[in-house]
Amino acid sequence: MNDATPVIAAKNVWKLFGPQPEKYLAGMEPGRSFEDIRADGYIAGVKDVSISLTRGEMLVIMGLSGSGKSTLVRCFSRLHDITGGTVEVEGQNIMALTERELIDLRRSKMGMVFQSFGLLPHRTVLENVAFPLEMRGQDRHTRRERALEMIRLVGLDGREEYFPRELSGGQQQRVGIARSLAIEPDIWFLDEPFSALDPLIRREMQDEFLRLQGMLGKSIAFITHDFDEALRLADRIAIMRNGAVEQCDTPDKIVLNPATEYVFKFTEDIDKARVVRARGLMQPLNGASPEGAPVDGMATIQALARDLVNDPREVIPVAGQDGAVAGQMKRQAALDILLGTR
């Protein structure tokens, strides 16, 4: 296993709900659609999904409710046993693990945050955060220290002794986050962590989350059904529908080159200038050397708007992450994004 091994690699994963899913899947002719499968009395929670999560990446999984997002992520941690395909976590086939090994894996590598928090109502904040450590058998003193540190990290100091019902929704989710981080997981699953919160608090929690991620740099699978949230956070976005992944790509590519009709509809109403970055429009130089100062490849078109409008150049150089010119972009293409085609 090296650094290039994906943290999670899912290949042709199926998860069917119904009376005898394995048997059904084995005897199923290929190419049956979601509706066909439903007519046979099964629900395809996850339908032939191949996707991977690379180290340090934030993969956002999107889709309407019921599209199979939660189910997919639960297949990654084997909260659901998959019906077909393979899931490998750091090169290990997760379905081949014994119960003991699975428990050890979760105790050492995985953390998860839930939509409605999933806190234990009879435990204080401190005891909730320390819970995974307690399960691991850590001694009382170290787990207390670690839990206090986590509580401080999410900004809940002074509330250690409160019970979940004595906290607001946002505070409860902070507890959920602190708990999921207590064991220092490498892989972090977040299932719509902010959708139960008010918009204002949601925004605040997203910032908080970005701050944490900036510090910790974990490999993350993040579920949301909110496109703005996805755009703010994602390295890559996977769009799901009826259990299948329609497209998995960087936000730019999803917006610029929707792979299917569905993704196109899904992204239609988005302000593309806010999403597309200069590097998304970048073309290879092919020997040309466009004049003038390059623009930052990571800057969104919206951020470049003023310069673009005044820039006399037809072709503008684009800088890569090292600051050197890595390609060029047509000004017209950028203006099309900014103002809409035509």
């Binding site: 105790r107 939509q115 999933g118 109502p121 995974p132 399960m135 002794e161």
Partner: protein, 661 residues
């Protein structure tokens, strides 16, 4: 589509007319049989089953029991369990609570210490009022001179309730974990819940010797079913996210169960605890029938010798104990943990525990010095049994009261009860069964009718037909009268928020009383006779009727009453054409409970002298005719089950039809 719907309609009418034809056939045959009887042309064997046709089932059962007991050696196993650990525990609590000479030979604990500790616990759970209730109950018990008998009852309760709790919890966990086990015990549980209490006394008497051990066993078994149900309910309700959080935290199966599931299902489990305690209390009092000493036995003795004053005082003690146990355990259910600020010292976190121990210790110490703090002597108590006797008797002797009760008794007996009873006894057996089956078919449909046929045929072949009919007559007349009073009361109360609350509270409280209590006013008013029996059943079964009437009416969706208001319905029209029809399914559940309660009570009331199955049961419970006892018990259960199945099936169908389910 149109074709399909007419098809459906046609099918419906066909079904209806078939149903009507079956009904009329049954009723017609029954009437024909009765007519023949009236004309005197019905052969004897159609009026009652001839002696030779009745199998000696009691003798067979006796043989079967003795086979299981002696030849299979089961009795050794049960005796070992009972006389080993169980008896040991019972002896220990008996020593602590009332000083029976057994290990650990420390008791009796001074009454003041128990009362003080109870008061602190009451305060912790529910503030001053609970404190007063808890402490006050024990103080009353001691001062009235009933400490020892109350503690006899409590000593069994303190053993039986925890055992029932743990067993129920364990079985509940199994049922939740293993679907096959759940499927296996579901039907058993639902039958167990319709069984009258003495059915639990029976096996206890069969396998254990009469006395506290048998009583404890019966009590434990009686209290287990609801604990199982509440446990599975609670565990199933734990939200998937909490469960998943547990898995993701790396819980093993055992950690999952003990750290996640059980604590999260706390509320339901504690509701189960409340039910366990209340059922245990109800049963412990009733085990007086199989020779268990305590409040129940004393009450039986006092009522038997018509000492109304003392009966009344014991009744008050029982009621106080019941209310206290109920309220405290319910307060525990709703009690949520409160947080302490960081750095709160240890003693402050456990302040109530320390106070409880402190109060207990102080009074134990005081009791060493001051005699009355330890025990209230025979001559020191404040019982006013004789005086109350006098007052009650004087009150009853007041001409008007006496005239009223006398007249009621006379009127009910001569004009209602006796004619009703005689006419029921007059009906030939096959006609009677047909009528019951027709009723079940009309109300419940095919399945209940089938059960009714089987069940009542068994009763007919059991050899106790007449007594069974008398039992049924008592139940029916009491429930009819309870309906006439209870439902109007419910309707009245449902009209206002305030009265609903009051009456519901009264019903709730009354339901926590052990059934024995209901005999006291009946005997006081009417003496020892049929009317008193009917009267005690009447009050007992009125409680669920009133309760469910209020609940049914109060839960009618407001859109519907508002719609009625907007259509200009008068209050009466609204009640008759909107509220009552919608409330009827719920009320039927109450009616069903009333009938069940009546079947329970009939046995208990038998003690005041009736000629029905109950009395026969009473006689055999004390003795050794177990086979006969079993047959009698079965008869009551079968009749109760028939009504249970029929009415619940109707309520179910009705709810579906109204879209309320």
């Amino acid at each position: 589509m149109a074709v399909a719907s007419t098809d459906y309609a046609v099918q419906k009418t066909v079904e209806l007319s078939l149903r009507n034809r079956v009904l009329w056939a049954m009723l017609g045959t029954a009437l024909l049989l009765m007519l023949c009887r009236a004309l005197g042309i019905l052969p004897e064997w159609l009026i009652r089953l001839p002696e030779w046709a009745i199998p000696p089932s009691d003798i067979w059962l006796d043989a079967a029991f003795s086979f299981v007991q002696n030849d299979l050696g089961l009795i050794h196993v049960t005796r070992f369990v009972a006389e080993g650990p169980l008896e040991f525990l019972l002896d220990a609590t008996a020593n602590l609570l009332y000083g029976k000479r057994r290990w650990p030979d420390l008791g009796p604990i001074p009454w003041t210490a128990i009362a003080a500790a109870a008061a602190v616990i009451g305060y912790y759970l529910g503030g001053w009022r609970m404190s007063l209730l808890a402490g006050g109950t024990f103080v009353w018990t001691a001062l009235i001179g009933q400490w020892e008998i109350a503690m006899q009852t409590m000593s069994v309760l303190t053993v039986a309730a925890p055992i029932a709790f743990l067993t129920g919890l364990g079985l509940g966990i199994l049922a939740w974990k293993y679907a096959w086990f759940d499927k296996a015990i579901k039907p058993v549980l639902s039958v167990l819940q319709t069984l009258p209490f003495f059915t639990y006394l029976l096996p206890a008497v069969i396998f254990f010797k009469v006395g506290p051990t048998a009583g404890a066993v019966a009590t434990i078994v009686y209290a287990i079913p609801p604990m199982i149900l509440m446990t599975t309910l609670g565990l199933k309700k734990v939200s998937t996210e909490v469960v998943e959080a547990g898995h993701m935290s790396g819980c093993t199966r055992w950690q999952m169960l003990t750290r996640v599931y059980i604590p999260t299902a706390r509320t339901e489990i504690l509701v189960g605890v409340n039910q366990v305690i209340m059922l245990c209390l109800a049963m412990v009092v009733l085990t007086a029938f199989i020779g268990m000493p305590g409040l129940g036995a004393k009450l039986l003795a006092m009522m038997g010798s018509f000492k109304l004053g003392r009966s009344f005082e014991i009744g008050v003690t029982i009621v106080l104990l019941a209310i206290m146990l109920d309220r405290l355990s319910k307060a525990w259910v709703v009690k949520q943990p409160e947080h302490f600020e960081r750095g709160t010292p240890w003693w402050q976190r456990h302040i109530f525990l320390l106070f409880t121990i402190g109060a207990f210790a102080v009074f134990v110490a005081l009791a060493q010095v001051i005699q009355v703090f330890s025990e209230i002597g025979r001559t020191q108590h404040f019982s006013r049994g004789k005086e109350i006797d006098g007052i009650i008797k004087a009150a009853l002797d007041i001409d008007m009261v006496q005239a009223t009760t006398e007249w009621l008794r006379w009127f009910l007996n001569v004009n209602v009860l006796i004619p009703f009873r005689n006419s029921m006894l007059w009906v030939p057996t096959p006609a009677f069964i047909l009528l019951v089956v027709a009723f079940a078919y009309w109300l419940g449909g095919r399945r209940p009718a089938l059960y009714a046929t089987v069940f009542f045929t068994i009763v007919a072949f059991s050899g106790w037909w007449d007594r069974s009919v008398i039992t049924l007559y008592t139940v029916i007349s009491a429930v009819i009268m309870a309906t006439l009073i209870g439902i109007p009361l419910g309707i009245f109360a449902a009209r206002s928020e305030k009265w609903s609350r009051r009456i519901l509270l009264a019903c709730d409280t009354a339901q926590t009383f052990p059934s024995f209590i209901y005999l006291i006013p009946a005997i006081m008013l009417f003496g020892v006779n049929d009317v008193a029996v009917v009267f005690s059943i009447l009050i007992f079964s009125m409680v669920p009727l009133t309760r469910y009437t209020i609940e049914g009416l109060r839960t009618v969706p407001p859109e519907m009453t508002e719609a009625a208001d907007m259509s200009g319905a008068s209050r009466r029209q609204k009640l008759l054409s909107v509220q009552l029809p919608l409330a009827l399914p719920t009320m039927a559940v109450g009616f069903n409970q009333a009938i069940m309660f009546a079947f329970f009570m009939v046995i208990i009331a038998a003690f005041i002298g009736t000629q029905d199955l109950g009395q026969e049961l009473q006689r055999t419970l004390a003795g050794t005719e177990l086979g006969k006892n079993f047959v009698l018990g079965m008869n009551v259960s079968l009749m109760a089950l028939t009504f249970d199945l029929t009415i619940l099936s109707w309520a179910e169908k009705r709810k579906k039809a109204l879209g309320l389910a």
